[in-house]
Symmetry: D2
Subunit: 305 residues, 4 copies
Amino acid sequence: MDIFLDKALQKGVDVAPLGQVATYIPELAKGSVSDVGFALMDLDGHMYTRGQAEKNFTLQSITKVITLLLALEDLGKEKVFTHVHMEPTGDPFNSIMSFEVKNPEKPFNPMINAGAMVVTSLIKGETKEEKIRRILEFSGKLMGKEEVRFDQEVYLSEKETGHRNRSLAYFMKSTGIMKGDVEDILDLYFMQCSILGNCVDIACIGAVLASNGIHPITKERVVKKEHARIVKTIMTTCGMYDASGEFAVACGIPAKSGVGGGVLGAVPGRYGVGVFGPALDKKGNSIAGIEMLISLSKDLDFTIF
Amino acid sequence: MDIFLDKALQKGVDVAPLGQVATYIPELAKGSVSDVGFALMDLDGHMYTRGQAEKNFTLQSITKVITLLLALEDLGKEKVFTHVHMEPTGDPFNSIMSFEVKNPEKPFNPMINAGAMVVTSLIKGETKEEKIRRILEFSGKLMGKEEVRFDQEVYLSEKETGHRNRSLAYFMKSTGIMKGDVEDILDLYFMQCSILGNCVDIACIGAVLASNGIHPITKERVVKKEHARIVKTIMTTCGMYDASGEFAVACGIPAKSGVGGGVLGAVPGRYGVGVFGPALDKKGNSIAGIEMLISLSKDLDFTIF
Amino acid sequence: MDIFLDKALQKGVDVAPLGQVATYIPELAKGSVSDVGFALMDLDGHMYTRGQAEKNFTLQSITKVITLLLALEDLGKEKVFTHVHMEPTGDPFNSIMSFEVKNPEKPFNPMINAGAMVVTSLIKGETKEEKIRRILEFSGKLMGKEEVRFDQEVYLSEKETGHRNRSLAYFMKSTGIMKGDVEDILDLYFMQCSILGNCVDIACIGAVLASNGIHPITKERVVKKEHARIVKTIMTTCGMYDASGEFAVACGIPAKSGVGGGVLGAVPGRYGVGVFGPALDKKGNSIAGIEMLISLSKDLDFTIF
Amino acid sequence: MDIFLDKALQKGVDVAPLGQVATYIPELAKGSVSDVGFALMDLDGHMYTRGQAEKNFTLQSITKVITLLLALEDLGKEKVFTHVHMEPTGDPFNSIMSFEVKNPEKPFNPMINAGAMVVTSLIKGETKEEKIRRILEFSGKLMGKEEVRFDQEVYLSEKETGHRNRSLAYFMKSTGIMKGDVEDILDLYFMQCSILGNCVDIACIGAVLASNGIHPITKERVVKKEHARIVKTIMTTCGMYDASGEFAVACGIPAKSGVGGGVLGAVPGRYGVGVFGPALDKKGNSIAGIEMLISLSKDLDFTIF
């Protein structure tokens, strides 16, 4: 197995210079193209790492998986999917157009920004502070860590420059899709996006999904089996922005990427995977991350298809 | 002439019950369907009125004409049209879609909300307060009145519920089309929309346009000839929401309607017209207002075509 | 007056090299950038010409004015506008998108391809041959010519390569907007677009419109006053593709351009204008033609606003 | 196992009356709502059937799977995916809009009409006749049948009324996406859609996919392993129109439905499935078919997630 892990890392290192770090959030522009790494956790909790597997980064859209799981645990699937569809869309992650064209009663899916903001708005809690605390605690349970926190600089940077997300949220407010105080929900959403983690952490989340909700180390149930399965399915059809279809063909596992450079993968019944590389391709996915996942998938036969 | 004025009023009164007052701004829902009236001012300042010609209402989108004129006077046409196009659009007045689809460098025209907000953001003034004061003073010059003010209830109502405009403004902020503080610009825009006037007031604005910028009573020049001409042209192609084409064929004069029930018209070289009737048709234009303008146009041969 | 005409021609000649001849119809690509000319006809039939005023070209979209007039004469305005709206649109002339997004019951206006094809389908006649003969005869009446014909090479070229128009027509067939045999209507439309004329011919059509339907030479009524007025109005709001608004501000007269390089203008109560220059600007309008019209409008005070 | 099969059939029978047969192709409107059935084939070729499992129907969009497999075998994946993407889209199966908005170089995926027509145009063969013969022969190999034919009535009905597909094809021709003679490709496409099969036939195709390309009875390789895997992946993300995401969550297997009422499913490593019921839900999928697949999936644990 070692030889496959080394090979995958090398492939990631090789392609990383072809990508570019995200710049639309000023703080993210500080990422280093040469940071590349990954972690693999099997369902007994054994961890295999290569490269910068313990370097922290902001999880960004990967947190859409976390809040979807939490909302499902909080409210159940019937309630959650009253507020958001589960259909893939060819539109960009921040598209408003389809709301105007199709006047839908709910966003397409929980992996695009509109859907994720609606899911975030569903999280239980009296106040914004209680909600973010619950999200952080739940993230800790998934990662097997005592304490999870968010990066304040990135959070403030997103809050200050997130005009497109603000536009999207007010649009949904105007059509009645979004309930509650828009600025509070946006604030919560920006905090959530700024949650810090590393490859080991997200590999652990992936392992929870791969084992249908059982934590691989403590062997405790963290989420219901059905919720794990639903989330893996939605990750497969919608997890990699508008490259989800191509990624499914090339790699064949449920995965969710974030603009911070991380990708969370789950190989059902076998592994959780966390990969990292802040240089992104044109679709907004980690260029090294995708290369490494495809390499691992080929050599270790990950595909579910 | 009297017979034509009486006839026009009667037609307005007859159709008014077929329309509905705007409800999307809670305060506007209080308008009375039976309020119908108009005023005609010739270029010597003689005023002809019928019905509720002196009842105040909020000018709403009619103020797009006022701020466009002020921006032109403040900055000149070159500068203003660097920030907004002058093309008609078949899209609704509050559409965001075309921004996402076409990624334009500026809004279509100053008569849709997006363009009007950009025009408002161009008005000279150190602070929001100074800007609204200048808009109110300029409105007074156009109306021949000492004091013009805005309706505070309507302003607060729009500010509280204007999520779609807020979404539009943040979208333009995110693409760089809108400069400056979005909340300040929205605040100014909501104040501007709430400016109070009656048929006599807007007939006077129409007369200034009809006489190419000369005030019909004081005979002073209020705006440059070219600016009056530009604004009349844009009113003709874009003034009546997505019924502008039909209205041009039916009535044939530059006009601008507002969701408060008013319509401002200018018959080049002859009259300014102000009509009122809060019951709207499906396109958002005063149903009695349009009927009366068409009746007057036929009997008094208004058309410019 | 001579000095203004010379000046206008010079301006046209100067800008012509900045444009490009249309290439999407192979035959049109043969046009010469240096061909520039115009004709002005007053309402007594006096003709003023400069440059290549008698060189023939295919009228292309200018024929939308001809068939709209004929359809109005054939069926009356009520009937015609049951099948097509009269609203300007910011969409390109060959757009299908709005049909899918808005599912309208009829096309936006008769000056875009969709609307023009529907208008063409309304022309009276048992067969395609009879219909084109009627269109050609009616064109002759408007131009004051015995015989009008269409360019066979251009017709065949359009028929062979007009896939976008074919797509548009079948789309309208699928939604029920277009009645009748699609291939026949397309064939007729391609013939119509290929009608030949020169500046003198289209100045004469413009003069008929400018005089509300009376032929300036024969003094016979060619079309009803109301139909002339309707067509002038629609030309003003929709005649110059998505530069109609800008042209209205800059020149201020009803006009219709064609991709063959011609522009038809009507100065109500004064002149008909025909201009020509096959080099087009980015919006598809004759670059020299627009420049000359604006120059003439400024010097001879054409604007209707 | 019998009990689960009986239960599934019963569920299908129960919901069938809630759907409606397709009417947009006149011939399809003749389908009977009460026809419900399915077939399951394991990888040793054992067949389990219930209800109307041997009643023939036109495969319609299920043939998109067949031609994609054939094109992959003919040309290889590199070549095929030069002409079509593999991304899911939230747009309807017959959407043109995204072509105009996004001006893509190729259609979204081979499971929407645009993509399927492009795939069909790639099939090897000198003439239309040779191409359809090759498609029929290849269908026979997948179904394990000597002779496969298409329904002439349905073919002619589609050819006569398929204006939307014709519009789509000419649009792609106009942008250069579609090569070759449009009418020939459409003709081929309409023949392909009219291919006849029953549940047993499509279960057999499903079994070929489930076994990665090996025919379950003859044990011969029919398609390459990689091609089977690619097609299963694309079926999962795009196979059930704009209900693909919901179906993936509810059932969790690669599947492709057709408007004739059939659904083809593949349970990797285990079964091929063919279900039938001409009454469709609002998304265009067989209402009984989906119900039966979900029932089978739950009881026999089909899901790949």
